[in-house]
């Protein structure tokens, strides 16, 4: 009787151990493969396409100022990623100055970073400020800051 109980216990243990070993194997096929096309690696070569109101120039300066870990290239063929976007500045009108007492401009900008090999958008960001203290400089630095966060996150 004692032997039968021991054998039963042993069998249950064996089944449990084998089940535990099989679990990682079963989970493997269902695991999603991370999409590396949406990851911007540190040191990636980036081309900044021309944007309205020369926003690309501001963005280039901001990338340097914020120490974004990318290499900006002048030739699109040499780049791994391309930054395109749109920017809009609305200077303070007389009414805004008189009624609201604000001389600051309204800034709006939006950028996207495209992986040129896969044509997928790896990063996108938009910015809007009703009273921008430093105009396009503020909006471009905000874009650069968030781009840096994306690269450093490694996702």
């Amino acid at each position: 009787m004692k032997h039968t109980g021991l054998v039963g216990l042993f069998l249950i243990m064996a089944v449990l151990v084998s089940g535990a070993q099989q679990q990682p194997g079963k989970a493997a096929p269902s695991e999603k493969v991370p999409d590396t096309s949406q990851v911007i690696p540190s040191g990636a070569k980036v081309f900044i396409a021309p944007m309205p109101d020369d926003f690309n120039q501001y963005l280039k300066t901001a990338i340097e100022k914020k120490k974004v870990p990318v290499t900006v290239v002048e030739n699109r063929d040499q780049a791994d990623f391309e930054i395109t976007g749109y920017s809009e500045t609305q200077k303070a009108s007389t009414a805004k100055k008189l009624i609201m007492g604000s001389w600051h401009s309204r800034e709006s900008a939006s950028i996207k970073v495209v992986n040129l090999k896969t044509a997928t958008v790896a990063f996108a960001y938009s910015y809007n400020n009703d009273n921008s203290a430093h105009g396009k400089k503020s909006s471009s630095e905000s874009c650069a800051k968030h781009l840096k966060e994306k690269i450093e996150s490694g996702k």
Binding site: K96, I99, M100, R106, K112, V121, A124, Y125
Partner: protein, 174 residues
């Protein structure tokens, strides 16, 4: 007397028969008429008529679908893409239309605050209006459409782009 009754019954039957072809058409609502006239063969179960002259495909957008956002006025496409990323819409945005399964097109308009608005309402915020639609490039069916109108938009086009993305996310299934 009997003849008169028979004649009356026959007259009633004839008049009822004469009115029959017209009555079903009269009963039909405008929605039903439009839907039936525009239905394409083989796609009946995928189409829903929500308004007169409007057919939106009931098919869902699959998780991880490849979406191309076409250029829109005032760079609104960039704001929509940024909104899609911010709202974590589970799609892959591609910059090449040939690699996409779906295409997003649309229009956006910004109405800046005038002096009267600033003076009387004390608001310098813009009015934003945008409308987008998503088309399945294989079937040509419109799978999603949404329009947004924001009076006193706090963040301008950014708000409108994010609103579009938020509602797009609701349409997507796992």
């Amino acid at each position: 007397m009997r003849k008169a009754v028979l004649a009356f019954v026959a007259f009633c039957a004839l008049s009822a028969w004469a009115q029959q072809p017209e009555s079903p058409a009269e009963k039909k609502s405008p929605e039903q008429t439009d839907a039936s006239s525009q239905k394409s063969p083989g796609s009946d179960e995928n189409l829903v008529a929500s308004e007169p002259n409007t057919l939106i495909s009931a098919q869902k957008i699959p998780f991880g679908a490849r979406v191309y956002v076409a250029p829109m006025p005032n760079g609104f496409d960039n704001y929509v893409i940024a909104g899609i990323q911010k709202k974590k819409v589970p799609v892959v945005i591609v910059a090449d239309r040939s690699k996409a399964e779906f295409e997003v097109t649309g229009i956006a308009e910004t109405d800046k605050a005038g002096w009267a608005k600033m003076l009387f309402l004390g608001s310098q915020q813009t009015n934003e209006s945008a409308s987008v639609k998503m088309v399945n490039l294989k079937t040509g069916a419109v799978v999603f459409a949404y329009s947004v109108n924001k009076v006193n938009s706090v963040r301008g086009k950014q708000s409108a782009g994010e609103a579009c993305a938020k509602h797009m996310k609701e349409k997507i299934v796992d």
